[in-house]
């Protein structure tokens, strides 16, 4: 069961907790010190999303980094991908991003980025945790203190990188009308001017900059009703839905339909491969529609565990041209930076529309489609592992992928994923099949068994 004092999660995704309970200034400060020690001092970028608790967390982070002698480059409210780009741009030793991404408002988190501009991987995260758990910190004396610098043009650097890699002229020539749902996140600071720079007529919603989320922060179809209405009302060419820290993107078609987050990656991949073939990497939580698209171009797709860094590392190894996390609307386009980036994704979608006479809906309808069943269960990580091992034994004669949770690819083309979340104490069941009936029937056996096991405990 999820109890109040268990709402802390230290994982490969960073340190997540609830403000006023587990994510105390003491804990934040101590992690910031440990990170400063881990990157061996030097320059560290600090950025945050628009969450109102960000200013508290930021103070505790600054104190920790300064106390171990780091020079802080303070970027203020910026998208998470911008922080990753800044690390490269300033040749920094790392970055701390203060953002709980799509988690509800009472949560906040520290995300750690290494000197390569990528999130810490599993091994690096373990090294950081090792330092965190040491009893002594290498605090510096006053003569080793470094002054703080503010960076005021962070997003301009990011935007320039994107524009260098897309056909801005083609987009500008079309004078698109687009709606953007900023979820009161970092998008409310940057999306309008970004899209206007591409000569779009922009209709913004949830763009108040106070960090109070007026819609549920996950950009899933059921949370995008207002964006759908807006797209219809203003006859937009497309609707964009961001998450609070601007790494994920969901789409609303020109007919006003909020399509599954999965299709952000499917559509951008379709667009990239149509121009130039290349390898694709996606996490195992990605729709089979992507695999169909990749194969139709005669290209290779490989699967990675869930988590941005896992996809990124595999993409770099495979020299992938595009990739990402289908299930969470995360598009990674390494030409700009090997990170999930809603701004790059928006630019790619606009470029796709600009280079064709078809509407968004025409393109979307022409893609392969699957139906899905999805459900999450409150469950501790330890217990989730037990459940997964049990199913693994039971289905050992099917095609199994166990790099992260349990994925079963059935011979009828349907597939199933059972996996514990990195960010919340839940286990998720996801089934995809050509028909809803097949998806539901495949899910039923699992759902019943999981419910039964959980009821017994």
């Amino acid at each position: 069961m999820q109890t109040k004092n268990r709402r802390l999660k230290i994982s490969i995704s960073g340190v997540r907790g609830v403000i006023g309970e587990t994510l105390t200034p003491q804990l934040i400060n101590d992690f910031a010190m440990a990170f400063g020690e881990y990157v061996a001092g030097g320059t560290v970028i600090v950025g945050r999303d628009s969450r109102s608790s960000g200013i508290m967390v930021e103070q505790a982070v600054l104190s920790g980094l300064r106390a171990v002698g780091c020079q802080v480059l303070l970027a203020g409210v910026i998208p998470t991908p911008t922080a990753q780009i800044l690390v490269n741009e300033y040749n920094a030793n790392g970055a701390i991003v203060i953002s709980a991404s799509h988690n509800p408002a009472e949560w906040n988190a520290l995300k750690f980025i290494g000197g390569n501009g990528l999130f810490l991987n599993q091994h690096q995260a373990a090294e950081l945790l090792d330092i965190y758990n040491q009893l002594d910190r290498n605090l510096v004396s006053e003569n080793a203190y470094m002054g703080l610098r503010k960076i005021t043009n962070s997003f301009a650097i990011h935007q320039k990188r994107i524009f260098n890699n897309i056909d801005t002229e083609a987009i500008r020539a079309r004078n698109f009308t687009v709606a953007v749902d900023c979820c009161n996140g970092v998008g409310s600071f940057y999306s309008r001017q970004f899209l206007e720079a591409l000569n779009c007529n922009v209709v913004e919603i949830f763009a108040e900059r106070d960090g109070i989320f007026r819609r549920k922060p996950e950009p899933t179809a059921e949370n995008l009703q207002k964006l759908s209405d807006t797209v219809r009302e203003f006859k937009c060419d497309v609707g964009f839905a961001q998450d609070p820290d601007g790494d994920r993107l969901a789409l609303v078609s020109n007919s006003g339909e909020a399509i599954s987050e999965q299709y952000t990656l499917v559509m951008t991949t379709e667009h990239i491969l149509a121009e130039k073939p290349g390898n694709v990497v996606a996490n195992i939580q990605t729709t089979k529609s992507l695999e169909d698209v990749v194969k139709s171009y005669g290209c290779n797709i490989s699967y990675s565990p869930v988590g941005e860094i896992n996809v990124t590392e595999q993409m770099l190894k495979a020299n992938a041209i595009i990739g990402g996390e289908g299930g969470s609307g995360g598009v990674i386009f390494p030409a700009v930076h090997p990170c999930r980036d809603s701004f790059t994704a928006m630019a790619l979608i606009l470029e796709m529309l600009a280079l064709t006479t078809e509407t968004f809906d025409d393109i979307y309808q022409s893609l392969p489609h699957y139906k899905y069943f999805s459900k999450k269960y409150q469950c501790s990580a330890v217990f989730a592992q037990k459940i997964i091992r049990m199913f693994k034994d039971e289905y050992s004669n099917e095609k199994i992928t166990d790099i992260d949770g349990l994925r079963i690819d059935f011979t009828d083309g349907s597939w199933l994923l059972l996996r514990a979340s990195n960010t919340e104490p839940v286990i998720r069941l996801f089934v995809e099949a050509k028909t809803q009936k097949l998806a539901n029937s495949k899910a039923k056996a699992f759902d019943e068994k999981i419910m039964m096991i959980l009821a017994q405990n």
């Binding site: 105390t24 200034p25 400060n29 608790s53 103070q59 505790a60 004396s141």
Partner: protein, 457 residues
């Protein structure tokens, strides 16, 4: 050895070696819990590490739901004034002031602008030691409140209220001042304009470099001393970086002991206002006998307490003292519940203007000659208290022995005083005698005995 002191004078310690961000955050969380989500004023001095402490404190205050008005680099008297003026509930003043390089400190203040008295300190430390803080939920976190008034300007008008400004203006005084690179220079400039002073200031840019020993004393005055005669200056001031202490240099370029600051202020006040035998002056147990002499002469009461700003402030409050001060160069008047060296400066100028006599004559005519020797014996053992008590055997021939805050031995012509510093790892030795030679000799004897005991451990 790590250096940390928590007690009546607040929180003091060595940066990187005792005064850690964790302890600062705990202390500020305890303070925030005590303040029950009200508005708090914070300020820092010029030391480089003060910004780290500010980050720690502000993060902690936000997390306990306190809104924060940040005055930035600000002197102690203006800080006290601001708490009342801005109707805040309390304040945390960050800064090392007269402490050695690499030390820093935090002092807690109540809503009346007075440093916490013993009772409030007790409340605060009970929370601090319990390590249980009143963290608030994400939507109740504190935030930054922008300062909209020019607090320095308001403060200067406030302190000039009962001053004969016209009399000073016509004199066109030349004043030399050393601000130890602290916050005082900015405010002094405003005062200089209003009083038509030719203010020649040195060490007046706010930075963390200590230009000399940060305690205002004759040896810290060596930089302004050579300016007095060539500039034909009327008076010179050496201020501590937070304006809580001051020592004077006369028009004849004599560097006066910091003991004269309170004595001269008292001497002038007793001329300026009519007193009765019910009026009270407060000082500490180790301030020059000049104060006893003046109080006797004017037939007013003198109360003595421990050498600690909190005790002085508390005793002044309970006896409604007309003035309070310490031999270290601190003076508290009735306009503020804190030491105010700006006021000392203005009172000295008014004294010279009204009496039409240079400051050197005020010294020679009104004050008896004593010689005071102050020594600091650095001690890194916890048994300083025990060592001090052993001196009872050495000086059993004293006419009077006062114990409590340290120990004081009185003879007809002089006195010896030993105490553990509340803010540093040191035993302070103070000797005052009519004869300079005897004072020096006695101090040497005490120092020798201390050395013997220290090495025996």
């Amino acid at each position: 050895m790590k250096q940390l002191r928590i007690g009546k004078s607040g929180l003091h310690g060595e940066i990187g070696n005792g005064l850690t961000p964790k302890i600062i955050i705990d202390y500020a969380c305890a303070f925030g819990s005590l303040m029950e989500q009200k508005t708090i004023v914070v300020a820092i001095d010029n030391r480089i590490s003060s910004e780290m402490i500010l980050n720690s404190v502000v993060g902690a205050l936000y997390s306990t739901g306190c809104d924060v008005i940040n005055l930035g680099v600000c002197s102690a008297p203006v800080f006290s004034y601001a708490i009342k003026k801005l109707k805040a509930f309390g304040g945390l003043l960050i800064g090392a002031t007269h402490h050695p390089y690499n030390w820093n400190a935090i002092q807690p203040f109540s809503e009346d602008g007075q440093v916490f008295n013993a009772m409030r300190q007790q409340e605060l430390l009970d929370i601090y030691h319990s390590k249980r803080y009143d963290f608030v939920d994400w939507d109740k976190l504190g935030t930054n409140i922008e300062l909209t008034t020019n607090i320095n300007e308001n403060y200067v008008n406030f302190i000039l209220k009962n001053i004969d400004v016209e009399k000073i203006i016509v004199k066109q005084f030349t004043v030399v001042a050393d601000f130890c690179n602290g916050a005082g220079a900015k405010v002094a400039k405003i005062i200089a304009e209003k009083l038509n002073l030719n203010l020649v200031s040195i060490n007046d840019s706010v930075n963390g470099i200590l230009p000399h020993n940060p305690e205002p004393r004759p040896r810290s005055a060596m930089q302004i001393k050579p300016l007095i005669l060539p500039l034909n200056a009327d008076i010179g001031f050496v201020f501590s970086s937070d304006m809580s202490r001051v020592s004077l240099v006369s028009d004849t370029a004599e560097t006066l002991s910091e003991e004269y600051s309170f004595a001269l202020a008292l001497n002038y006040l007793l001329k300026k206002i009519a007193t009765t035998n019910q009026d009270v002056v407060v000082t500490n147990l180790c301030t020059s006998k000049m104060i006893d002499h003046l109080c006797n002469k004017h037939n007013i009461k003198l109360f003595k307490t421990a050498a600690c700003p909190a005790d002085i402030a508390d005793m002044s409050e309970s006896h409604k003292a007309i003035i309070a001060g310490e031999g270290c160069g601190s003076v508290q008047f009735t306009h503020l519940k804190n030491y105010d060296s700006f006021m000392v400066m203005i009172m000295m100028l008014e004294a010279i203007a009204l009496d039409n006599a240079p400051i050197s004559q005020h010294v020679s005519k009104n004050l008896p000659k004593f010689h005071i020797v102050k020594r600091k014996f650095n001690i890194s053992l916890a048994n300083g208290y025990a060592i001090i008590k052993k001196f009872r055997d050495h000086f059993s021939n004293a006419q009077k022995i006062t114990e409590g805050d340290g120990i004081r031995f009185d003879w007809e012509d002089g006195w010896i005083y030993l105490r553990n510093s509340l803010s540093e790892g040191a035993i302070r030795v103070i000797v005052e005698w009519k004869s300079k030679e005897i004072a020096k000799e006695k101090a040497l004897i005490v120092y020798g005995i201390l050395k013997e005991y220290y090495h025996a451990n």
